[in-house]
């Protein structure tokens, strides 16, 4: 029928970064970034299931969750939050570097991001180790004997203790949520390692840096998840 009318091959097809099935670089870049945003939407739903479970129980067992929350190390949690925010900055600086065509600066900022990521994971591992020592890991050896928040002001005989079962649920959610987040961090660090190698080989130019930008989106997403985790897990009932 009316098919013909060939759209002439554009000279852009000479560009090795342009895949065969795209007509223009713009189309390719738009496709990649829409794909990444959809992937992040999927991630939001994935973490959404966890957040939903958490919020249900936090509502149901607020006092016990508050008590268990105070067992977390707020100092380390805060440091980790700062570390991650810094890593988001270095990602943005990496994108800026590639836009300006500064290859070594790009590699440097990618490596800096990896370093911050590893620092976060190291601190997290330290926190996990502390949970093992204090028998706060759910399972057969879990034990918990702590006051409900705000009970210190009463005479010892009248103080109320948190329900250890509910505290165990808090730590279950703590490990599931921070564990899933840490897994995403590990994947991100691996991704940046790969990109740093490619960048060092000169693959990315001001003309083509979509992978850096998309990995950056992913990394910011993982950061934002942590910001919520920090608020939800560490900061319950701290104001008393």
């Amino acid at each position: 029928m009316h098919t013909s009318q060939a759209v002439a091959d554009k000279p852009e097809h000479e560009n090795p970064a342009l895949l065969h099935h795209f007509a223009t670089k713009g189309q390719q870049k738009n496709a990649a970034s829409l794909g990444m945003w959809l992937f992040l939407a999927q991630e939001v739903m994935f973490f959404g299931g966890l957040f939903c479970a958490y919020l249900v129980y936090r509502y149901k067992y607020f006092g016990d969750f508050g008590s268990a929350s105070q067992q977390l190390d707020i100092r380390l949690g805060t440091i980790n939050t700062v570390v991650l925010i810094c890593s988001s900055l270095t990602v943005v600086l990496a994108i800026r570097a590639v836009q300006l065509g500064k290859r070594m600066a790009l590699v440097f900022w990618l490596l800096a991001t990896i370093l911050f990521g590893l620092a976060f994971l190291g601190i997290k591992a330290d926190e996990y180790a502390e949970k093992f020592e204090k028998h706060h890991v759910p399972g057969a050896s879990f034990s918990y004997h702590e006051l409900l928040p705000g009970q210190e002001k009463f005479p010892p005989a009248e103080r109320q203790y948190a329900n250890p079962h509910h505290a165990e649920m808090f730590f279950s959610l703590y490990f599931a949520m921070t564990g899933m987040h840490a897994l995403h961090m590990i994947i991100g660090v691996g991704l940046f390692g790969f990109l740093a190698y490619k960048a060092w080989r000169g693959k990315y130019t001001p003309d083509y840096y979509t992978p850096i930008e998309n990995a950056g989106l992913y990394w910011h997403f993982v950061d934002i998840v942590w910001i919520y985790l920090f608020g939800l897990l560490y900061l319950i009932d701290r104001h008393r």
Binding site: M1, L34, L38, A41, L50, C52, P138, A176, M180
Partner: protein
Amino acid sequence: MATAVVSDSGERETYLNAGYGLKSWLLTVDHKRIALLYLMSITFFFFIGGFFALLIRLELLTPAGELVQSDTYNKLFTMHGQVMVFFFLIPAVPAVLGNFLIPLMIGAKDLAFPRINLLSWYLYIIGGTLMIYTILNGGVDTGWTFYTPLSTEFLKTNVISAIVGIFFAGFSSILTGLNFIVTIHRMRAPGMTWNRLPLFVWAHYATSIIQVLGTPVVAITLVLVALERLFHLGIFNPMLGGDPLLFQHLFWFYSHPAVYIMILPGMGIVSEIVCCFSRKRIFGYKAMTLAVVGIAVIGFLVWAHHMFVAGISVYAALIFSLLSYFVAVPSAIKVFNWTATMYKGSITYQTPMLYAFGFIGLFTIGGLTGLFLACLGMDVHVHDTYFIIAHFHYIMVGGMVMAYLGGMHFWWPKITGRMYPEGWGKLAALIVFIGFNLTFFPQFILGYLGMPRRYHAYPAEFQILNVLSTAGATILAVGYLLPMVYFVWSMRYGKPAPPNPWNAAGLEWQTQSPPPTFNFDEQPVVTWEAYNYDEIDEIPEKEEVPVAH
């Protein structure tokens, strides 16, 4: 990638003869080849799931549990459900026909992310392998729904491997959906506006939204079940204060919309077939597109109707009941518009059209009985009975599998370049229709009389209806084996197919059969509306496109 138009043997190059050998298939990034990889894999799982179904029907031939014990029976219906839902129904139409046709229909060379497309297939295969391992290692008996605390605290079967398998299949499905959405947004040919898209593409767009936004929720939920089993985390465990209802909410948040993942692509197929064999423009194109998106959106808001007797609040149940009724509105729009399209059309009764008729009738029965279940009082009466089984099999098998088979017949000439034998096709369609109704209609009555689902034995007065159902299942099995045989036969002996054997509208018919690797020799430019059958039938002679072979 080969660029020559003519291959070594002198034949015109198609995606099938563009390369030979295992490597050219296993490492292909051509959406058409990946679709065939999926076709073979899902057919394999269809017959595994079907085998379990036949064992279930054989056991239910007699009232006493004679063929299998109750434990084995639990495994049979569990694995039937898991294999059919996650490894056949969900990927069937999108990953095979959608994969093959969407780029052709919108005039693109490939999906937006060809390598991710291949990755989806590998994820599916990893998941499938784990499912096979689960089956061979003694099976799993949670029911396909994995309800806690049964799945977390009590069972000693292969729950983890089944969950990990389904997790992989789920991510395969997410990536397919993501790929489709980006492709439909970014890869359309010049002139292919949103309002010129075939309804098949619209249906896949709506399906993909559910796949991308729904599947991750069941993925994390199943991960939590696995963590609970492996590391004794307490999330759904009632002994710690966990709430099994929370599991059900999270599970059905995906698994209800998943029903629409299964049925919407089927609706897309039926729209194409009905227009082509009625030689008419679709009635109410805009309404059809809105309906398909409407079903996807409302479908996200009705999940708790699976939990009316599970102990949710009465007010929640009322709201979910009302919302469930709303799904009937866009569904009815679709059925009315198909029938209105046929009204005063020049209908011919080719095999795909017979399947489309089957779909419309059976989907209507399935949909109307769905209203019974959306009704709170009625649902309490028939909950967990064979009424439910009959209802969703009318949608899933009567609707979706009918549409899938109709689509396979409709596009078989395009996929393989060969015609299937029309006489056998019509016969098989008839056998499937009779076998299906004989299998599942008695189950409506059984359920209404109170026979519960998931038991291997039943009171003697239910036997006659069960015998009818089992007899129907046998006929249905013949109906499914027949196309399998003549499709394979036709790949070698079928008549060579012209580019457009049905004289159908749609870009996919304007390239050769089978299409070349990059689909079109020249970039198509679209200047007409979808389903312009009035224009096509006015002009008898069309531009000649050379036939393969």
